[in-house]
Protein backbone atom coordinates (compact mmCIF):
# COMPACT_ATOMS: atom_id res chain seq x y z
CA UNK A 1 0.00 0.00 0.00
CA UNK A 2 1.18 3.47 -0.81
CA UNK A 3 2.23 5.78 1.96
CA UNK A 4 1.93 9.19 0.34
CA UNK A 5 4.72 11.42 1.55
CA UNK A 6 3.68 14.28 3.78
CA UNK A 7 0.30 12.84 4.57
CA UNK A 8 1.16 9.82 6.64
CA UNK A 9 -2.22 8.18 6.32
CA UNK A 10 -2.81 4.90 4.55
CA UNK A 11 -5.03 5.13 1.49
CA UNK A 12 -8.30 3.28 1.88
CA UNK A 13 -9.31 2.14 -1.63
CA UNK A 14 -12.65 0.44 -2.26
CA UNK A 15 -12.91 -2.96 -4.02
CA UNK A 16 -13.64 -3.50 -7.71
CA UNK A 17 -17.14 -4.62 -6.82
CA UNK A 18 -17.70 -1.47 -4.81
CA UNK A 19 -16.44 0.59 -7.77
CA UNK A 20 -18.92 -1.25 -10.00
CA UNK A 21 -21.67 -0.47 -7.50
CA UNK A 22 -20.76 3.24 -7.54
CA UNK A 23 -20.96 3.39 -11.35
CA UNK A 24 -24.24 1.47 -11.37
CA UNK A 25 -25.75 4.14 -9.10
CA UNK A 26 -25.14 6.70 -11.92
CA UNK A 27 -27.13 4.69 -14.47
CA UNK A 28 -30.86 5.45 -14.47
CA UNK A 29 -33.79 3.56 -15.97
CA UNK A 30 -34.06 3.79 -19.74
CA UNK A 31 -30.34 4.32 -20.32
CA UNK A 32 -28.60 2.57 -23.23
CA UNK A 33 -25.24 1.41 -21.86
CA UNK A 34 -22.19 -0.36 -23.22
CA UNK A 35 -19.98 -2.02 -20.62
CA UNK A 36 -16.44 -2.57 -21.91
CA UNK A 37 -14.62 -5.85 -21.50
CA UNK A 38 -12.76 -6.50 -18.27
CA UNK A 39 -13.57 -4.59 -15.09
CA UNK A 40 -16.59 -2.62 -16.46
CA UNK A 41 -18.46 -5.90 -16.99
CA UNK A 42 -18.88 -6.04 -13.18
CA UNK A 43 -21.22 -3.02 -13.33
CA UNK A 44 -23.99 -5.26 -14.73
CA UNK A 45 -24.13 -7.12 -11.40
CA UNK A 46 -25.22 -3.95 -9.60
CA UNK A 47 -27.83 -2.50 -11.93
CA UNK A 48 -31.16 -2.41 -10.10
CA UNK A 49 -33.18 -5.45 -11.25
CA UNK A 50 -36.48 -3.56 -11.00
CA UNK A 51 -35.32 -0.89 -13.49
CA UNK A 52 -35.20 -1.40 -17.26
CA UNK A 53 -31.68 -0.53 -18.44
CA UNK A 54 -30.60 -1.54 -21.95
CA UNK A 55 -27.20 -3.20 -22.25
CA UNK A 56 -25.57 -3.03 -25.67
CA UNK A 57 -22.89 -5.49 -26.76
CA UNK A 58 -20.68 -4.45 -29.68
CA UNK A 59 -21.02 -7.81 -31.43
CA UNK A 60 -24.66 -7.05 -32.12
CA UNK A 61 -26.94 -7.33 -29.09
CA UNK A 62 -29.29 -4.87 -27.39
CA UNK A 63 -31.02 -6.04 -24.22
CA UNK A 64 -28.20 -8.32 -23.18
CA UNK A 65 -28.95 -10.41 -20.10
CA UNK A 66 -26.75 -12.17 -17.54
CA UNK A 67 -24.65 -15.29 -18.06
CA UNK A 68 -26.74 -18.44 -18.64
CA UNK A 69 -26.83 -21.61 -16.55
CA UNK A 70 -24.35 -24.14 -17.95
CA UNK A 71 -27.13 -26.14 -19.59
CA UNK A 72 -28.31 -23.05 -21.50
CA UNK A 73 -24.95 -21.94 -22.92
CA UNK A 74 -25.28 -21.03 -26.59
CA UNK A 75 -22.03 -20.09 -28.33
CA UNK A 76 -23.94 -18.10 -30.95
CA UNK A 77 -24.88 -15.76 -28.09
CA UNK A 78 -21.74 -14.25 -26.57
CA UNK A 79 -20.69 -10.81 -25.36
CA UNK A 80 -17.78 -8.60 -26.43
CA UNK A 81 -15.50 -10.54 -24.09
CA UNK A 82 -16.55 -13.74 -25.93
CA UNK A 83 -18.35 -15.13 -22.86
CA UNK A 84 -21.83 -16.73 -23.12
CA UNK A 85 -24.71 -14.38 -22.26
CA UNK A 86 -28.51 -14.35 -22.57
CA UNK A 87 -31.04 -12.09 -24.28
CA UNK A 88 -33.74 -10.35 -22.26
CA UNK A 89 -37.34 -10.42 -23.47
CA UNK A 90 -37.58 -7.53 -25.93
CA UNK A 91 -33.90 -7.74 -26.88
CA UNK A 92 -32.63 -7.70 -30.46
CA UNK A 93 -29.77 -8.74 -32.72
CA UNK A 94 -28.19 -6.71 -35.53
CA UNK A 95 -25.09 -6.69 -37.72
CA UNK A 96 -21.76 -5.00 -37.00
CA UNK A 97 -22.31 -1.84 -39.01
CA UNK A 98 -25.62 -1.20 -37.21
CA UNK A 99 -24.06 -2.06 -33.87
CA UNK A 100 -21.25 0.44 -34.34
CA UNK A 101 -23.64 3.02 -35.78
CA UNK A 102 -25.34 2.88 -32.37
CA UNK A 103 -22.04 4.01 -30.83
CA UNK A 104 -20.63 6.22 -33.56
CA UNK A 105 -23.96 7.86 -34.22
CA UNK A 106 -24.24 8.94 -30.58
CA UNK A 107 -27.19 6.70 -29.70
CA UNK A 108 -25.52 4.93 -26.76
CA UNK A 109 -25.94 7.08 -23.63
CA UNK A 110 -23.07 5.76 -21.55
CA UNK A 111 -19.96 3.79 -22.41
CA UNK A 112 -17.99 2.41 -19.45
CA UNK A 113 -14.39 1.60 -20.34
CA UNK A 114 -11.29 0.44 -18.51
CA UNK A 115 -8.24 2.67 -18.66
CA UNK A 116 -4.46 2.85 -18.39
CA UNK A 117 -4.46 6.65 -18.12
CA UNK A 118 -6.90 9.56 -18.27
CA UNK A 119 -5.63 13.11 -18.74
CA UNK A 120 -7.04 16.29 -17.22
CA UNK A 121 -8.41 17.23 -20.66
CA UNK A 122 -10.30 13.93 -20.93
CA UNK A 123 -7.90 12.06 -23.20
CA UNK A 124 -8.05 8.29 -22.72
CA UNK A 125 -5.31 5.70 -23.16
CA UNK A 126 -6.55 2.13 -22.79
CA UNK A 127 -5.61 0.04 -25.82
CA UNK A 128 -1.83 -0.17 -26.08
CA UNK A 129 0.96 -0.11 -23.54
CA UNK A 130 3.33 1.30 -26.14
CA UNK A 131 5.69 -1.66 -25.79
CA UNK A 132 7.39 -2.23 -29.11
CA UNK A 133 6.93 -6.01 -29.24
CA UNK A 134 3.30 -5.97 -28.00
CA UNK A 135 0.76 -7.42 -30.43
CA UNK A 136 -1.61 -4.49 -30.97
CA UNK A 137 -5.36 -5.06 -30.70
CA UNK A 138 -7.98 -2.30 -30.52
CA UNK A 139 -11.42 -3.86 -31.05
CA UNK A 140 -14.21 -1.37 -30.41
CA UNK A 141 -12.34 0.77 -27.85
CA UNK A 142 -11.79 3.80 -30.10
CA UNK A 143 -15.38 3.75 -31.36
CA UNK A 144 -16.76 3.47 -27.82
CA UNK A 145 -14.51 6.21 -26.46
CA UNK A 146 -15.65 8.91 -28.88
CA UNK A 147 -19.08 7.70 -29.94
CA UNK A 148 -21.13 7.45 -26.74
CA UNK A 149 -22.86 10.52 -25.31
CA UNK A 150 -20.86 10.04 -22.10
CA UNK A 151 -17.72 7.98 -21.57
CA UNK A 152 -17.04 6.80 -18.02
CA UNK A 153 -13.69 5.27 -17.17
CA UNK A 154 -13.35 2.65 -14.43
CA UNK A 155 -9.82 1.99 -13.26
CA UNK A 156 -7.64 1.76 -10.19
CA UNK A 157 -6.27 5.16 -9.18
CA UNK A 158 -2.68 3.92 -9.06
CA UNK A 159 -0.66 1.44 -11.08
CA UNK A 160 0.85 -1.58 -9.32
CA UNK A 161 4.04 0.42 -8.76
CA UNK A 162 2.16 3.38 -7.32
CA UNK A 163 1.97 5.77 -10.28
CA UNK A 164 -1.20 7.82 -10.75
CA UNK A 165 -3.41 6.91 -13.71
CA UNK A 166 -4.90 10.41 -13.54
CA UNK A 167 -2.28 12.43 -15.41
CA UNK A 168 -1.62 15.84 -16.92
CA UNK A 169 -0.95 14.23 -20.29
CA UNK A 170 -1.18 10.57 -21.32
CA UNK A 171 2.15 8.87 -22.02
CA UNK A 172 0.58 5.70 -23.43
CA UNK A 173 -0.81 5.74 -27.00
CA UNK A 174 -4.22 7.44 -27.07
CA UNK A 175 -7.58 5.79 -27.59
CA UNK A 176 -9.48 9.06 -27.92
CA UNK A 177 -9.02 12.79 -27.38
CA UNK A 178 -11.10 14.78 -24.89
CA UNK A 179 -13.67 12.00 -24.72
CA UNK A 180 -13.91 11.12 -21.00
CA UNK A 181 -16.63 12.74 -18.84
CA UNK A 182 -16.15 10.91 -15.52
CA UNK A 183 -13.48 8.75 -13.93
CA UNK A 184 -14.35 6.20 -11.25
CA UNK A 185 -11.28 4.99 -9.39
CA UNK A 186 -10.88 3.00 -6.18
CA UNK A 187 -10.17 6.27 -4.34
CA UNK A 188 -12.91 8.51 -5.69
CA UNK A 189 -15.12 9.83 -8.46
CA UNK A 190 -13.85 12.66 -10.66
CA UNK A 191 -15.65 14.71 -13.27
CA UNK A 192 -13.72 16.25 -16.15
CA UNK A 193 -14.60 19.86 -16.90
CA UNK A 194 -12.71 22.40 -19.06
CA UNK A 195 -10.64 23.38 -15.98
CA UNK A 196 -9.59 19.76 -15.30
CA UNK A 197 -10.47 17.07 -12.73
CA UNK A 198 -13.17 17.92 -10.18
CA UNK A 199 -13.70 15.79 -7.08
CA UNK A 200 -17.24 14.45 -6.92
CA UNK A 201 -16.62 12.04 -4.06
CA UNK A 202 -13.70 10.52 -2.14
CA UNK A 203 -14.24 7.12 -0.55
CA UNK A 204 -13.80 5.87 3.01
CA UNK A 205 -13.49 9.40 4.35
CA UNK A 206 -10.13 9.97 2.70
CA UNK A 207 -9.17 13.65 2.60
CA UNK A 208 -8.52 15.67 -0.54
CA UNK A 209 -4.94 16.26 0.64
CA UNK A 210 -4.42 12.52 0.94
CA UNK A 211 -5.67 11.72 -2.57
CA UNK A 212 -4.03 14.82 -4.04
CA UNK A 213 -0.69 13.65 -2.61
CA UNK A 214 -0.73 10.60 -4.92
CA UNK A 215 -2.17 12.48 -7.92
CA UNK A 216 0.28 14.67 -9.88
CA UNK A 217 -2.43 16.84 -11.39
CA UNK A 218 -4.69 19.36 -9.67
CA UNK A 219 -7.90 17.95 -8.20
CA UNK A 220 -10.36 20.83 -8.15
CA UNK A 221 -13.29 21.15 -5.81
CA UNK A 222 -16.60 22.57 -6.95
CA UNK A 223 -17.17 26.21 -6.02
Amino acid sequence: MNQPSGVGLTLKPISRNEMAQKIASYIVEGTYVNLGIGMPTLVANYLPPDKEIFLHSENGILGMGPAPQDADIDWDLINAGKQPVTLLTGGSYFHQADSFAMMRGGHIDISVLGGFQVSQTGDLANWHTGEVDAVPAVGGAMDLAVGAKKTYVMMEHLTKDGKSKLVAQCTYPLTGIGCVSMVFTDLGIFEILPEGFFVVELFNEMSLAQVQAVTPVVLHTYP
Binding site: L77, K82, F94, Q96, A97, A101, V138, M142
Partner: protein, 223 residues
Protein backbone atom coordinates in the same frame (compact mmCIF):
# COMPACT_ATOMS: atom_id res chain seq x y z
CA UNK B 1 -34.32 -22.31 -62.53
CA UNK B 2 -31.85 -20.51 -60.33
CA UNK B 3 -30.18 -22.69 -57.73
CA UNK B 4 -27.33 -21.21 -55.72
CA UNK B 5 -27.21 -24.21 -53.42
CA UNK B 6 -24.22 -26.42 -54.11
CA UNK B 7 -22.59 -29.40 -52.41
CA UNK B 8 -19.28 -28.71 -54.05
CA UNK B 9 -16.88 -26.56 -52.07
CA UNK B 10 -14.37 -27.00 -54.89
CA UNK B 11 -16.79 -25.43 -57.36
CA UNK B 12 -17.61 -22.51 -55.06
CA UNK B 13 -13.92 -21.94 -54.32
CA UNK B 14 -12.70 -22.32 -57.90
CA UNK B 15 -12.17 -18.58 -58.38
CA UNK B 16 -9.98 -18.11 -55.31
CA UNK B 17 -6.51 -17.40 -56.65
CA UNK B 18 -3.10 -16.34 -55.41
CA UNK B 19 -3.47 -12.82 -54.02
CA UNK B 20 -7.24 -12.99 -53.59
CA UNK B 21 -8.81 -10.83 -50.88
CA UNK B 22 -11.13 -12.90 -48.67
CA UNK B 23 -13.49 -11.62 -46.01
CA UNK B 24 -14.30 -14.12 -43.25
CA UNK B 25 -17.28 -13.56 -40.95
CA UNK B 26 -17.38 -14.14 -37.21
CA UNK B 27 -16.66 -12.47 -33.90
CA UNK B 28 -14.69 -14.55 -31.43
CA UNK B 29 -16.16 -18.02 -31.87
CA UNK B 30 -19.61 -16.84 -32.94
CA UNK B 31 -20.51 -16.85 -36.64
CA UNK B 32 -17.22 -18.40 -37.80
CA UNK B 33 -17.79 -20.35 -41.05
CA UNK B 34 -15.64 -23.28 -39.91
CA UNK B 35 -16.37 -25.60 -42.81
CA UNK B 36 -15.67 -22.90 -45.41
CA UNK B 37 -12.38 -22.01 -43.72
CA UNK B 38 -11.41 -25.69 -43.79
CA UNK B 39 -12.16 -25.59 -47.50
CA UNK B 40 -9.90 -22.56 -47.89
CA UNK B 41 -7.13 -24.29 -45.94
CA UNK B 42 -7.43 -27.29 -48.28
CA UNK B 43 -7.31 -25.02 -51.32
CA UNK B 44 -3.94 -23.99 -52.76
CA UNK B 45 -4.19 -20.22 -53.23
CA UNK B 46 -1.42 -18.27 -51.52
CA UNK B 47 -0.53 -14.60 -50.78
CA UNK B 48 -4.09 -14.17 -49.57
CA UNK B 49 -5.32 -11.02 -47.87
CA UNK B 50 -7.81 -11.84 -45.10
CA UNK B 51 -10.34 -9.35 -43.70
CA UNK B 52 -11.86 -10.56 -40.45
CA UNK B 53 -12.37 -9.32 -36.88
CA UNK B 54 -10.03 -11.65 -34.99
CA UNK B 55 -6.99 -13.67 -36.04
CA UNK B 56 -8.10 -17.07 -34.84
CA UNK B 57 -7.20 -19.02 -31.74
CA UNK B 58 -5.86 -22.48 -31.09
CA UNK B 59 -4.82 -24.45 -34.16
CA UNK B 60 -8.08 -24.63 -36.11
CA UNK B 61 -10.10 -22.27 -38.32
CA UNK B 62 -8.39 -18.99 -39.15
CA UNK B 63 -5.39 -20.04 -37.03
CA UNK B 64 -4.95 -23.12 -39.24
CA UNK B 65 -5.19 -20.94 -42.34
CA UNK B 66 -2.49 -18.62 -40.96
CA UNK B 67 -0.36 -21.62 -40.00
CA UNK B 68 -0.46 -22.80 -43.62
CA UNK B 69 1.47 -19.58 -44.40
CA UNK B 70 -0.71 -18.66 -47.33
CA UNK B 71 -1.91 -15.39 -45.82
CA UNK B 72 0.22 -12.38 -46.70
CA UNK B 73 -1.81 -9.80 -44.84
CA UNK B 74 -4.64 -9.61 -42.33
CA UNK B 75 -6.94 -6.61 -41.85
CA UNK B 76 -8.64 -6.91 -38.47
CA UNK B 77 -9.50 -5.13 -35.22
CA UNK B 78 -8.52 -7.57 -32.49
CA UNK B 79 -5.89 -10.18 -33.36
CA UNK B 80 -4.93 -10.84 -29.73
CA UNK B 81 -7.14 -13.46 -28.06
CA UNK B 82 -6.68 -16.39 -25.73
CA UNK B 83 -4.51 -18.90 -27.63
CA UNK B 84 -3.83 -16.62 -30.60
CA UNK B 85 -0.22 -17.86 -30.57
CA UNK B 86 -0.08 -18.70 -34.27
CA UNK B 87 -0.85 -15.13 -35.29
CA UNK B 88 1.48 -13.73 -32.63
CA UNK B 89 4.39 -15.90 -33.79
CA UNK B 90 3.92 -14.93 -37.44
CA UNK B 91 3.51 -11.25 -36.50
CA UNK B 92 6.64 -11.13 -34.36
CA UNK B 93 8.70 -12.87 -37.07
CA UNK B 94 7.24 -10.41 -39.62
CA UNK B 95 5.81 -13.24 -41.71
CA UNK B 96 2.39 -11.59 -41.80
CA UNK B 97 1.39 -7.99 -42.38
CA UNK B 98 -1.21 -6.51 -40.01
CA UNK B 99 -3.53 -3.61 -40.81
CA UNK B 100 -5.14 -2.85 -37.46
CA UNK B 101 -8.51 -1.10 -37.82
CA UNK B 102 -10.89 -0.02 -35.06
CA UNK B 103 -13.84 -2.41 -35.15
CA UNK B 104 -16.39 0.22 -36.11
CA UNK B 105 -14.16 1.41 -38.93
CA UNK B 106 -13.72 -2.18 -40.06
CA UNK B 107 -17.49 -2.67 -40.16
CA UNK B 108 -18.17 0.66 -41.87
CA UNK B 109 -15.37 0.20 -44.44
CA UNK B 110 -16.97 -3.14 -45.35
CA UNK B 111 -20.45 -1.61 -45.43
CA UNK B 112 -19.20 1.31 -47.55
CA UNK B 113 -17.79 -1.06 -50.16
CA UNK B 114 -21.08 -2.97 -50.28
CA UNK B 115 -23.04 0.25 -50.70
CA UNK B 116 -20.75 1.80 -53.31
CA UNK B 117 -19.51 4.54 -50.98
CA UNK B 118 -15.98 5.73 -51.75
CA UNK B 119 -15.03 6.15 -48.12
CA UNK B 120 -16.20 8.24 -45.19
CA UNK B 121 -15.03 10.58 -42.45
CA UNK B 122 -15.27 9.36 -38.86
CA UNK B 123 -14.33 10.74 -35.43
CA UNK B 124 -13.05 7.33 -34.38
CA UNK B 125 -9.25 7.19 -33.94
CA UNK B 126 -8.70 10.91 -34.62
CA UNK B 127 -5.39 11.92 -33.04
CA UNK B 128 -4.31 8.31 -32.40
CA UNK B 129 -1.65 6.01 -33.89
CA UNK B 130 -4.34 4.38 -36.03
CA UNK B 131 -5.06 7.64 -37.84
CA UNK B 132 -1.45 8.45 -38.66
CA UNK B 133 -0.95 9.52 -42.26
CA UNK B 134 -4.68 9.66 -42.96
CA UNK B 135 -6.54 12.66 -44.32
CA UNK B 136 -8.43 14.64 -41.68
CA UNK B 137 -11.16 17.23 -41.94
CA UNK B 138 -12.97 19.59 -39.59
CA UNK B 139 -16.72 19.10 -40.10
CA UNK B 140 -19.26 21.08 -38.05
CA UNK B 141 -16.60 21.79 -35.45
CA UNK B 142 -15.50 18.17 -35.01
CA UNK B 143 -12.33 16.46 -36.21
CA UNK B 144 -12.77 13.52 -38.55
CA UNK B 145 -10.45 10.97 -40.20
CA UNK B 146 -10.95 9.63 -43.72
CA UNK B 147 -11.40 5.87 -44.03
CA UNK B 148 -11.49 4.03 -47.34
CA UNK B 149 -13.78 1.17 -48.37
CA UNK B 150 -12.51 -2.42 -48.20
CA UNK B 151 -12.75 -4.37 -51.44
CA UNK B 152 -12.88 -8.16 -51.45
CA UNK B 153 -13.01 -10.92 -54.03
CA UNK B 154 -14.75 -13.38 -51.72
CA UNK B 155 -16.73 -13.41 -48.49
CA UNK B 156 -17.06 -16.60 -46.46
CA UNK B 157 -19.95 -16.28 -44.02
CA UNK B 158 -22.13 -18.41 -41.78
CA UNK B 159 -25.90 -18.22 -42.05
CA UNK B 160 -28.50 -20.24 -40.19
CA UNK B 161 -31.03 -20.99 -42.92
CA UNK B 162 -30.80 -20.29 -46.62
CA UNK B 163 -32.76 -20.99 -49.79
CA UNK B 164 -31.83 -21.59 -53.42
CA UNK B 165 -32.06 -17.89 -54.27
CA UNK B 166 -29.44 -17.14 -51.60
CA UNK B 167 -31.76 -15.50 -49.07
CA UNK B 168 -30.35 -15.86 -45.56
CA UNK B 169 -31.31 -15.62 -41.93
CA UNK B 170 -28.80 -15.83 -39.11
CA UNK B 171 -28.86 -17.20 -35.60
CA UNK B 172 -28.57 -14.83 -32.60
CA UNK B 173 -25.33 -12.82 -32.34
CA UNK B 174 -23.63 -14.97 -34.99
CA UNK B 175 -25.03 -12.48 -37.52
CA UNK B 176 -22.20 -10.02 -36.72
CA UNK B 177 -20.21 -9.40 -39.96
CA UNK B 178 -22.25 -11.70 -42.23
CA UNK B 179 -24.72 -9.26 -43.80
CA UNK B 180 -22.17 -6.52 -44.57
CA UNK B 181 -19.50 -8.88 -45.87
CA UNK B 182 -22.09 -10.47 -48.16
CA UNK B 183 -22.75 -6.99 -49.59
CA UNK B 184 -19.08 -6.09 -49.99
CA UNK B 185 -17.52 -9.09 -51.73
CA UNK B 186 -17.70 -9.82 -55.46
CA UNK B 187 -18.54 -13.45 -54.61
CA UNK B 188 -20.20 -14.45 -51.34
CA UNK B 189 -20.22 -18.05 -50.18
CA UNK B 190 -22.59 -18.74 -47.29
CA UNK B 191 -22.60 -21.95 -45.31
CA UNK B 192 -25.93 -22.74 -43.70
CA UNK B 193 -27.16 -25.21 -41.15
CA UNK B 194 -30.39 -25.76 -43.05
CA UNK B 195 -31.47 -25.30 -46.66
CA UNK B 196 -35.17 -24.52 -46.93
CA UNK B 197 -37.60 -24.38 -49.85
CA UNK B 198 -38.14 -21.05 -51.54
CA UNK B 199 -40.92 -19.22 -49.67
CA UNK B 200 -40.23 -20.80 -46.29
CA UNK B 201 -38.21 -17.82 -45.10
CA UNK B 202 -40.64 -15.04 -44.19
CA UNK B 203 -39.89 -12.12 -46.56
CA UNK B 204 -40.37 -9.75 -43.60
CA UNK B 205 -37.62 -11.57 -41.71
CA UNK B 206 -34.96 -12.17 -44.37
CA UNK B 207 -31.76 -10.46 -43.21
CA UNK B 208 -29.58 -10.93 -46.30
CA UNK B 209 -31.52 -10.83 -49.59
CA UNK B 210 -30.24 -13.30 -52.16
CA UNK B 211 -28.79 -10.61 -54.44
CA UNK B 212 -25.77 -10.47 -52.11
CA UNK B 213 -25.13 -14.24 -52.11
CA UNK B 214 -23.69 -16.34 -54.95
CA UNK B 215 -23.29 -19.77 -53.33
CA UNK B 216 -25.11 -21.51 -50.49
CA UNK B 217 -23.48 -24.58 -48.98
CA UNK B 218 -25.35 -26.91 -46.67
CA UNK B 219 -23.15 -28.06 -43.80
CA UNK B 220 -25.78 -29.31 -41.34
CA UNK B 221 -25.55 -29.05 -37.56
CA UNK B 222 -22.46 -27.32 -36.19
CA UNK B 223 -19.42 -29.55 -35.75
Amino acid sequence: MINKVTDSLAQAFSGIQDGSVVMIGGFGGSGIPHELIEGLVAQNAKDLVIITNNAGSGETGIAALLKSRRVRKIICSYPRMANSHIFETLYRSKEIELELTPQGNLAERIRAQGAGIGGFFTETAFGTLLAQGKETRLINGKNYVFESPLEADFALIKGYKGDRWGNLVYRKASRNFGPIMAMAAKTTIAQVQEVVELGVLDPEQIITPGIFVQHVIHVGEPI
